[in-house]
Amino acid sequence: MSEVKEKEVVKIKPSESLLSKRRKNILVDPLDDNNPVTIQVLGICSALAVTIKLEPTIVMSLSVVFVMIFSSLLTSLVRDYIPVRVRIIVQLAIIASLVTLVSEFLQAFSYEMYKVLGAFVGLIITNCIILGRLEAYAMGNKPYDSILDALGSSVGYAWIILTVAFFRELLGSGSVLGYKVFEMIGWSGFPTNGLFVDSIGAFIILGLLIWAQRSRNGYVEN
């Protein structure tokens, strides 16, 4: 929330094509150069909490993509009717209703996964990426652009947490998606490292990932 920028309102020509260059940029920018997790420092909490295994992380990413897209769409549709003073509560109410949907859906169709994710499904509400994008983008832009922006940001978030989860599961449990890969290639004595199952491994992997990504695209923080 802290690094939310000035409102990015854009004037659109009525004849603009569905995937013009500007719109492609909205979609692609958050994937790398303006990644919500590694560059903007948002949504770190859940990026770390659910990444012990790859499978819950996939469910988590899908949930965030869903909540993000629909909350952006809804906020963007009602943006002219929200009084400025209570906008945070209105936005939180929209997000909370969508998260409740996700949580009820998981309870009904995948109770095991719901148990694994536990309170962290509910904590999607306080994922700062969602509120940050609503506040900075969806509050001032048309629905279609807001959806593209939401899709870009949430996929940018998803690939980071999937990468972290991949390495944590590989090094911590010696498996990928539950398959013991090292035993399959005939290396049964692979020393798994308990540190990566623990929270500490997540901090370190994300730190290194940020280092790698930032040295690649040359972003330097002051």
Binding site: G43, C45, I88, T126, N127, W211, R214, V220
Partner: protein, 203 residues
């Protein structure tokens, strides 16, 4: 004594930041200076200590299955747990807004130094996390309050410590790509390792 143990446990062993990654966003963003970290930390302690028992009352008296039977026995079968997330976040957001207004009215000086952090707290996941964990772990009212205070205190300690380290870090040579968030994550990892040594401690 048991309550004190719970405070200790939630502040050190089950530290919100290091064990559950809650409140990371503000933990990373507001830890550049000790003085601002101090302000945010105190505000988190206060809000967590108040919202945990508040949400406990809501959970036990309104949301749980059969909780509404105090109105009339007919309501004994109603289960409103699906409204839990919505209710909790509404309580937190409005409580934060209330606190903001009260401080603004009665202590403009404190408001000046704390002001910007208060709205941030509504979306600090450690607050909502505290309420959700409290329900998961079946605490009673006193335990919930102690848990809220302990968690807030743990967050306070963590953010002060990190801010102090980061102030010192200004004088060291960090590789360009690692500057800022990268090195902070690595430090947080090492601090987490240090907090691990508290495991198993009781009084």
């Amino acid at each position: 004594m048991e309550l004190f143990n719970l405070v200790l446990k939630s502040a050190f062993m089950d530290n919100m930041v290091f064990a559950y990654f809650l409140g990371m966003c503000s933990f990373l963003a507001v830890s550049k200076k000790v003085s601002t970290a101090n302000g945010l930390g105190l505000a988190v302690i206060f809000v967590l200590t108040c919202t945990a028992p508040l949400n406990w009352l809501i959970q036990k008296n309104i949301l749980e299955e059969g909780a509404l039977s105090w109105i009339s026995p007919e309501f004994a079968t109603i289960d409103l747990t699906f409204l839990q997330l919505l209710m909790f976040i509404a309580v937190i957001a409005s409580f934060v807004q209330l606190v903001e207004m009260i401080i603004e009215k009665f202590s403009p000086a404190l408001y000046g130094s704390l002001g910007i952090f208060l709205p941030l707290i509504a979306v600090n996941c450690s607050i909502l996390g505290g309420s959700l964990f409290m329900v998961q772990r079946d605490f009673n009212l006193q335990e919930a309050t102690a848990f809220g205070f302990g968690s807030g205190f743990g967050f306070y300690l963590a953010i002060i410590a990190l801010a102090a380290i980061r102030e010192k870090l200004k004088y060291s040579h960090v590789p360009n790509g690692l500057k800022g968030l990268g090195i902070t994550m690595l430090i947080t990892g090492l601090m987490g390792l240090a907090f691990k040594t508290f495991i198993g401690m009781t009084l």
